[in-house]
């Protein structure tokens, strides 16, 4: 194959939904594509911008404060049916924190207001009110891709409907709701999660999974990803795991 591979990434609301270093996920995708000679074209989609999901190979949305989520909700809901149809059809997507919440059916915020979501995942999120503690801390998850590490910081508690697959199970941290040990959600090639930190740089297996799914969807099932030297990534991943375990012991 001599043709240069190319991927088109839609980054939804980068100006608004970016509170916890979420742009690190874009940086990681770009780095890991370019290291393999894959061209990554990033299109930023803000409120009111044209957006046809089927024109893209990957979709990314980050986290925002409650106020920011309310600001984009109407715009996102208007795009909901087209985006959900594309994801149902296998479009790879990563939705982090506030973006994850809006990929569910609804988010009931800390004042009891309902922010509608787009129902990519069969779940809903409820904020237990302004006096409740936030779920803040290091996280280690067991997933199909091995251990995933990150940091969570969310007020809302997310509850999966029966049959909705989580992204992983919680080894350290709070997860979706601090009760049922689930974290995030997964539907076809779409992953929703509370983990930032940033997520993809320290979890190269997950970054590569998204890249590979996007490539295979566009270029066919025979595409492979050559491995990279991930010593630095692995060291950061392992350091984060050690921190999570030490803090978990300290708090017991």
């Amino acid at each position: 194959m001599t043709e240069k591979l190319q991927l088109r990434l839609a980054h939804l609301y980068p100006d608004v939904m970016n509170i916890y270093g979420d742009r690190g996920n874009v940086i990681a995708l770009r780095y890991r594509c370019e290291a393999r000679g894959i061209e990554l074209e990033v299109t930023e989609v803000n409120v009111g911008d044209p957006f046809v999901p089927t024109d893209f190979d990957l979709v990314l949305i980050g986290g925002g404060q409650d106020r920011e989520q309310r600001h984009i909700a109407d715009d996102l809901v208007a795009r909901g049916p087209a985006l959900k149809a594309a994801i149902d059809d296998g479009l790879p997507a990563l939705a982090v924190c506030g973006g994850f919440q809006l990929f569910g059916h609804r988010y009931v915020d800390n004042e009891g207001g309902v922010i509608p979501g787009i129902g990519v995942f069969d779940l809903e999120t409820r904020h237990p009110g302004p006096r409740a503690d936030r779920c803040i801390g290091d996280v280690v998850l067991a997933t199909e891709l091995g251990d995933i590490v990150g940091f969570e910081n969310h007020g809302g508690r997310t509850y999966l409907a029966p049959g909705q697959q989580p992204f992983g199970s919680v080894k350290r941290g709070f997860g979706n709701n601090a009760e049922d040990h689930t974290e995030g959600a997964r539907h076809r090639n779409a992953i929703g999660t509370y983990l930032h930190g940033s997520l993809l740089p320290k979890n190269p297996a997950l970054a590569d999974e998204l890249i590979l799914a996007a490539l295979r969807r566009r270029y066919g099932p025979d595409v492979e990803l050559p491995p990279l030297d991930d010593a630095t990534e692995t060291a950061a991943h392992d350091a984060a795991t050690r921190v999570a375990e030490r803090r978990s012991r300290a708090s017991r």
Binding site: N18, R67, H71, H196, P201, A236
Partner: protein
């Protein structure tokens, strides 16, 4: 004087002395912590003895530097002041500062002549305002900081509104006109407002880092910028209600920056110079000058105070170690780190040597994701050698790898091993920029003390 206050002062002072003698640190917060257990109203009980009243300085960045510049101006004017200069800015730190000048009877020495100058933690502002009834409150800026500590930016803004609701109605607000998130505190404020801001088109940048103010609180529309200095600071205007950056009473024009100093013009003062650099420090200096004007201090004192200010602990300090000049540039959050990156990017040459130290203790923020909001990419191709350190040295190495920096010469979590690696990878005569988070700076400072390169900070600053 009620007996509980006197008892609190005695107990607190004893605890501070013990802490200092045990070498546990400067004891900057211990006396206040102990005394407040006995007399929870100690800040109020001692603060009301200050005849010149109190001023509070808060904001995400620049609290310490702004306060130090004002202290230097007060010194030049000969006004006695009590100042929590070590940056211990919670209620216990303010209490400790007040107790430092309090006799065992509970009376503040020369209290009637003294002004209280208190750098105040963002979340402590409501408590400090209640206890001290300040005559002026200065707000430097509002950025995303350590989100795991304070929650979201909106949470901090809500705390500040709470403080303003209980502040004396005649107090003067000193507000950064360039920061729309700070400017909104003037809405509904009945007392006087003194605005400060930058007025120099040459300082405008295109890419200016993370953006923490998007919508006008008054009407919900977006802000438009004619000019951005850094983050969301600049010449802003609301596209909805037309609210716009106020015209500042204290403004800097003609800003000239070198690695060691900044010079700028202020209306009514002419050209002033200070041994601090960076656009952010000019903004801090303006906050201090504005406060000085509110306090009625002379132009001559302002000029001399600026010229004589010493860099705060770890902020643009320069230390010699085995012939290397180590320049310490504290970075606590993305806005501050981006300013340091801008400063380094403005230097000539592409042979920079830089060490970045990332800690994740409570005071640094346990969440290190903020490093992905810093534009380290701007220095790609300009760095000849780098080192990473701190408790999250590995995370920092990864961040720099993805920013296009060369592989670090060492990734060393241990502070001593880090400095050893810097020495091993440099030569006498080299200039090396060391960029630590707050507790990483404390660790490195302690190691520099052990090596005889720096004095204990509480010894040279009290």
């Amino acid at each position: 004087m009620h007996p509980r206050l006197a008892l609190a002062v005695i107990a607190g002072k004893s605890a501070g002395a013990v802490s200092r003698r045990l070498g546990k640190g400067g004891g900057t917060a211990v006396p206040g912590l102990v005394a407040a257990r006995i007399d929870p109203a100690i800040v109020s009980d001692l603060g009301r003895q200050l005849g010149r009243g109190s001023v509070l300085v808060t904001g995400t960045n620049g609290k310490t530097t702004t306060s130090r510049i004002l202290a230097s101006i007060l010194d030049a004017e000969g006004v006695p002041c009590l100042h929590n200069r070590e940056g211990s800015n919670l209620m216990r730190g303010i209490a400790s500062t007040l107790m430092g000048r309090t006799g065992l009877s509970g009376a503040v020495r020369d209290g009637s002549e003294t002004l209280g100058l208190f750098e105040t933690d963002e979340a402590t502002l409501p408590l400090a305002t209640t206890a001290l009834a300040p005559r002026a409150l200065a707000f430097t800026n509002l950025f995303r900081d350590q989100l795991d500590r304070y929650g979201e930016v909106d949470t901090v803004a809500a705390l500040w509104r709470e403080a303003l609701a209980i502040a004396p109605p005649g107090a003067t607000l000193v507000l950064n006109a360039d920061d729309p998130s700070v400017a909104e505190f003037a809405i509904g404020w009945q007392g006087p407002v003194h605005w400060f801001g930058l007025d120099d088109a040459a300082l405008a940048t295109g890419s200016a880092g993370a953006f923490d103010a998007r919508w006008c609180r008054a009407c919900g529309a977006n802000f438009a910028y004619e000019r951005r200095y850094f983050a969301h600071l600049g010449l802003w205007r609301c596209t909805g209600c037309g609210r716009a950056r106020p015209s500042p009473q204290t403004a800097a024009t003609d800003v000239r920056l070198s690695l060691d100093e900044a010079a700028f013009s202020v209306d009514g003062l002419g050209v002033v110079t200070m041994p601090l650099t960076g656009v952010y420090n000019v903004s801090n200096a303006l906050a201090a000058v504005a406060l000085a004007r509110v306090l009625g201090l002379s132009g001559e004192a302002i000029r001399r105070g600026l010229a004589n200010v010493h860099p705060a602990f770890g902020r643009q300090e320069s230390v010699m170690l085995e012939g290397r000049r180590l320049r310490l540039l504290l970075c606590k959050n993305p806005a501050g780190a981006n300013q340091v990156i801008s400063l380094l990017a403005s230097l000539p040459g592409d042979e920079l040597k830089a060490g970045i130290l990332l800690n994740d203790r409570d005071a640094d923020g346990r969440d290190v994701s903020w490093t992905w909001d810093v534009d380290y990419e701007r220095l790609a191709g300009r760095v000849a050698r780098c080192w990473t350190g701190g408790t999250r040295a590995e995370d920092m190495a990864l961040r720099l790898k993805y920013a296009g920096w060369p592989a670090p010469a060492a990734v060393a979590s241990d502070p001593g091993a880090f400095l050893d690696a810097v020495l091993a990878g440099s030569h006498a005569g080299d200039e090396i920029f060391l960029i630590p988070t707050y507790t990483a700076m404390l660790d490195m400072r302690a190691d520099l003390v052990r090596r005889g390169a720096a004095a204990r900070f509480w010894a040279n600053q009290t």
